[in-house]
């Protein structure tokens, strides 16, 4: 079992990772994962795990790497190592179409985000005393509550939200609010501290970027480069 590489993803972050109706994980992250495995010639397994259990699970060796659109943050760096980024994103607010928007107006509003994400952390750091914050186990429940009207505004990563606006049929009611920020948000694969796997993954990452595999995957999900 020693050479088997277990890669964990969340499965509720379309289009980067989600579970199809056959019960299999799919999405950008998962495609990248398999491409990396192919390059490393490793025997891989992709498992799913709820978001807030990912880093704890990695720490107790339930799996060897997290490829779940996880941003590199200082706090995470204290407990795990990250590979080089495999794409980058930014945070962006999402709200009802047509309403005027100004960061200052968020005072007193109900803002939702997924627990243990960059967005949640940003809200806790900047809005804890200004607005009512709600944190969810997964992003899908955030959307459900936005549509239900329990949330005024959602803060999340721009790219998946872009996909949600396009595919969920809610694009006519909701829209991005303001510009994306924290654009230097680098998304990478997390591994245990000091694990050699990091170097192997970095090497494989370079290879798929170089030989066009990465670009093919990118094109499958987005009409623009997200690297």
């Amino acid at each position: 079992a020693a050479d088997k590489v277990r890669l964990a993803t969340e499965g509720a972050w379309a289009p980067f990772n989600f579970i199809d109706s056959a019960g299999k994980p799919q999405g950008f992250d998962v495609d990248v994962a398999w491409a990396l495995c192919a390059k490393m010639k490793a025997d891989c397994e992709v498992v799913t795990q709820d978001w807030d259990g990912l880093i704890p699970g990695l720490k107790v060796r339930k799996f060897d790497a997290i490829i779940a659109s996880m941003s590199i943050t200082e706090e995470r760096l204290k407990v795990v190592d990250f590979t080089n980024k495999y794409y980058s994103g930014g945070l962006r607010f999402l709200g009802l179409k047509g309403e005027a928007f100004n960061i200052a107006d968020l005072k007193g509003k109900v803002i939702g985000a997924q627990r243990a994400t960059l967005g949640a952390q940003y809200l806790e750091d900047n809005f804890a005393d200004l607005a009512t914050l709600k944190f969810y186990d997964n992003q899908d429940n955030v959307y459900l509550d936005l549509v239900a009207g329990r949330l005024d505004v959602v803060l999340s990563d721009e790219l998946p939200t872009f996909d949600w606006l396009k595919t969920s049929g809610n694009g006519d009611k909701f829209e991005f609010k303001g510009d994306a920020f924290l654009k230097e948000d680098n998304i990478a694969i997390a591994v245990r501290k000091g694990d050699k796997l990091k170097d192997k993954l970095n090497k494989a990452l370079d290879e798929i970027l170089a030989d066009g595999t990465y670009q093919k995957i990118n094109a499958k999900y987005f009409p623009f480069s997200i690297y």
């Binding site: 807030d52 704890p56 939702g112 509550d145 239900a148 329990r150």
Partner: protein, 236 residues
């Protein structure tokens, strides 16, 4: 293991504990209030009266509380009619959704406990009421309910503990109860074992307090019972 995180986050765990206590208290009280009429209707020999409570009890005892919470919180809000109704101000609040789910759930269990207690009263004591010419209402008010209350206590204490433990599920609908708070803290500290153990210890303390209170109440309430108190039938 790093126990300093427990110290550091203890005040926030206490905030969560307070929310848990509110959830438990409200749902237990409301559940108890609804349980009695449900139990009385369930006892009725008329299937038109006992049918609905039977189905109600069966559904809420036969499905996981987690499903019930999701049905109330995410399921109900899916519908435009619900969102436009006068109930929405309540249903949009996760706290009240949890209260609703918990109350429905615990009232079903408590109703069964009441029913068991009333039916566990020896038939002779009921006949003794009849032969002094009591009406049904007198019989329930004077003998059956006071008697059932004494019989019900141990099982009801258990039900409160079960509710206490069930309340941890509130964390799945964004409520920052003790478990929710613990999970939020872990999202920052990545120390699941320490924080979950601390939360577990707090739950344990609360349930011990509940048990101790019930022991006292039981002793007072059942002081009249000699060596052979009436036991609830097994299937309650």
């Amino acid at each position: 293991m790093d126990f300093s995180v427990i110290v550091e986050y203890f005040p926030r765990l206490m905030q969560g504990t307070w929310v848990s206590l509110q959830l438990i208290f409200l749902s237990v009280v409301l559940g108890g209030i609804f349980a009695l009429p449900i139990a009385l209707a369930r006892i009725s020999k008329n299937p038109l009266i006992s049918g609905l409570p039977f189905a109600y009890i069966f559904f809420f005892r036969g499905t996981p509380l987690l499903v019930q919470i999701f049905l109330v919180y995410y399921g109900a809000s899916q519908f435009e009619v619900v969102r436009e109704s006068f109930l929405w101000p309540i249903l949009r609040e996760p706290f009240w959704c949890a209260i609703i789910a918990f109350t429905l759930n615990t009232s079903a269990y408590t109703a069964e406990i009441f029913r068991g207690a009333i039916q566990a009263i020896p038939v002779g004591e009921v006949e003794a009421c009849k032969v002094v010419g009591m009406t049904k209402v007198q019989m329930y008010r004077r003998i059956l309910l006071p008697r059932a209350f004494g019989i019900v206590l141990p099982a009801y204490g258990n039900e409160i503990i079960l509710m206490l433990k069930g309340s941890a599920l509130a964390s799945t609908i964004t409520i920052l109860d003790l478990t929710g708070m613990a999970r939020t803290i872990i999202a920052r500290t990545y120390t699941p074992i320490e924080i979950f153990l601390a939360a577990g210890a707090i739950y344990l303390v609360i349930s011990m307090v509940v048990i101790a209170i019930f022991k006292q109440v039981e002793k007072r309430q059942n002081r009249y019972l000699g060596p052979n108190p009436v036991k609830l039938p097994d299937d309650v």
